[in-house]
């Protein structure tokens, strides 16, 4: 079977869930090889084996992470040229898409971003994307070069399949031209104790209707083990940090369950959450457009509905 590259998304060897999803998709296309850039491959090996990576190419040099994406793209392009994989899968994050963009030009290969599904078709791949704020579904294919596909988080449930995950170190030299954008400082996001927004199976969001107080939204999220999100209105009002914004200009989420509280459901917001599997909303305004999307909606004040729902959920969990 043909080799499929999966670029590992990790923080110092702690592998993010999206990588398990990519490996699961890669197994449908061929034999997955993980490409691990940076330090910590030893720590990541067990996870990569568990999700079916036969090989792990390890590219570890300080220059790869001291600069923004260009050295990573350069190293990945060299590996693609030498190993000639049948496809390259990356996570559709800002960094993943940028690496993919540079790789596309370097290898003269077609790039599809924000895919929600990838499958083998003929001697290539076919993808599904959700576009125009989730209002259209598009099937597409790569016609030139090595297909590069950036896949959205939560597009598939990671399935385990044990494999060897043999570490294979690859020597790397980084050119001067790739060293133009230096990362001079990096502050890890403060731990909230909640799942990461784009990875979470459940997202509970608050908007204008919170009036600036997210405590009921957070308490309800915690009862469900969910991530907390915010609408652009809430972020622009300074009520919640921008890194939690769901929408066209924030994060795009596609969880199993999305609960929108005090969010009207403008197109800006819908673009970021419309592909969620189950959608629930609480809003005082029965005319709010968010109710057009929901599987279940409560017309009421979130200040009353959410604390009661939190108590009920906690009671049921016993």
């Amino acid at each position: 079977m043909s080799e499929i590259f999966v670029l590992v998304d990790h923080v110092d060897g702690t592998v993010r869930k999206t990588t398990g999803e990519l490996l699961t998709l890669a197994r449908r296309l061929g034999t997955p090889s993980a490409v691990f850039i940076g330090s910590g491959a030893d720590a990541a090996q067990a996870y990569l084996a568990q999700y079916g990576a036969e090989k792990v190419y390890v590219l570890d040099a300080p220059e790869l992470t001291e600069y923004l994406v260009a050295p990573k793209a350069e190293a990945l392009a060299e590996l693609v040229s030498s190993k000639q994989p049948a496809a390259v899968l990356v996570s559709s994050s800002a960094e993943g898409k940028e690496i993919a963009g540079r790789l596309s030009i370097k290898t003269q290969s077609g790039l599809i971003t924000d895919a929600v599904d990838v499958r083998a078709a003929g001697d290539g791949v076919e993808t599904t994307q959700s576009v125009f704020a989730g209002n259209f579904t598009v099937e597409a294919t790569v016609t030139t070069g090595t297909p590069i596909v950036a896949v959205k988080p939560n597009s598939v449930t990671p399935e385990q399949a044990s494999a060897a995950a043999t570490l294979e170190p690859v020597s790397v030299t980084v050119s001067d031209v790739a060293k133009g954008a230096r990362i001079t400082d990096s502050k890890p996001r403060e731990a909230t104790g909640r799942p990461e927004l784009t990875e979470a199976a459940i997202v509970v969001s608050g908007g204008r209707g919170t009036g600036g107080d997210f405590s009921q939204v957070e308490a309800f999220a915690d009862s469900l083990g969910a991530a907390v999100g915010a609408s652009r209105a809430a972020v622009d009002s300074g009520w919640y940090p921008h890194s939690f914004q769901v929408g066209q200009t924030g994060k795009t989420v596609s969880p199993q369950l999305y609960v929108a509280n005090g969010i009207s459901g403008a197109i800006q917001h819908r673009a970021g959450m419309q592909t969620s599997k189950t959608i629930v909303a609480v809003n005082k305004d029965e005319e709010a457009p968010i109710f057009e999307l929901v599987d279940f909606g409560v017309v009421g004040d979130l200040k009353e509905v959410l604390p009661q729902a939190t108590d009920e959920v906690n009671k049921r969990k016993g």
Binding site: K106, L111, A140, V294, D295, V298, P307, R316
Partner: protein
């Protein structure tokens, strides 16, 4: 400092956007177009950077005749001159071909910094800034939520998924900015009047030395096989809170095994 800001003319994101059934490209006829909202933030940062350094801002677009509207809006906001690459053979170009045209057009201009919005509001790929940088061998500092220019050094704050980073590069460089970078200004009446006299250079593919076979739908490295409107979500159950809305919400979640 000479600044170029690249902008895109897009179908209005609040209208019912669709595809052209003849070639599966974005329908640009049925929906009014405008300067991509996210590019207004790039225009703003370009203007601020030029004001700091007494420089000039050139607005660059690639698109059909109507894309002149996007150039005009940026000129009204305060950009000094425009460049509009327009050619029938460009229609249907993918991100890679678009980046080729922009890179060649930049070759005809003098620039220290090239600003972009974080993505367009129609294609939303967000890869053209890095593709242009790759073609020109330039550093790209991307998704900047706070931008500062000091001499020939540009520094941005980038809020990533797991960390907030500070990225710095020396001009010439590509910079892309988010909607957190600062509210774009509205054109003033004076700005609207002044824009009428500002020069806009029109360029074709042959002016840029690009063979038509390198761009357009047939040259695209990807192909849309089919498109379909998402089936409408089946109408959900809506209840009005009569003191038990929270319990009903929890019951629904339990019925779906989320509790």
């Amino acid at each position: 400092m000479n600044i170029v800001v690249c902008v895109k003319y897009v179908p209005d994101a609040t209208a019912d956007r669709s595809f052209d059934s003849s070639d599966s490209t974005v329908d640009r006829e049925g929906v009014d177009g405008l300067l991509s909202e996210l590019d207004e933030y790039a225009v703003e940062q370009a203007l601020l950077a030029a004001e700091e350094s007494d420089g000039e801002v050139t607005v660059l677009t690639v698109g059909p005749a109507d894309a002149a509207d996007a150039v005009r809006k940026a000129l009204q906001m305060g950009a000094d001159k425009g460049v509009h690459v327009e050619d029938d053979d460009i229609a249907g170009s993918d991100a890679a071909a678009t980046s080729l045209i922009i890179a060649k057009a930049l070759g005809t201009l003098e620039y220290d910094l090239v600003f972009f919005g974080m993505s367009s509001t129609d294609g939303t790929m967000g890869v053209v800034p890095t593709m242009v940088a790759e073609r020109l061998g330039l550093p790209a500092v991307t998704y900047g939520s706070e931008i500062s220019v000091d001499g020939s050094t540009v520094t941005v704050r980038r809020d990533g998924d797991v960390a907030t980073e500070t990225i710095t590069a020396t001009a010439p460089a590509v910079v892309s900015v988010t909607d957190q970078s600062g509210e774009p200004r509205y054109p003033s009446f004076k700005g609207i009047m002044a824009a009428k006299k500002k020069p806009v250079e029109e360029l074709t593919l042959s002016d840029l030395g690009i063979d038509p076979s390198e761009v357009g739908l047939d040259a695209a490295w990807t192909k849309v096989l089919s498109f379909a409107p998402r089936p409408p979500r089946s109408a959900g159950e809506i209840v009005t809170d009569e003191g038990d809305g929270g319990v009903k919400l929890a019951e629904f979640l339990a019925s779906k095994k989320f509790v």
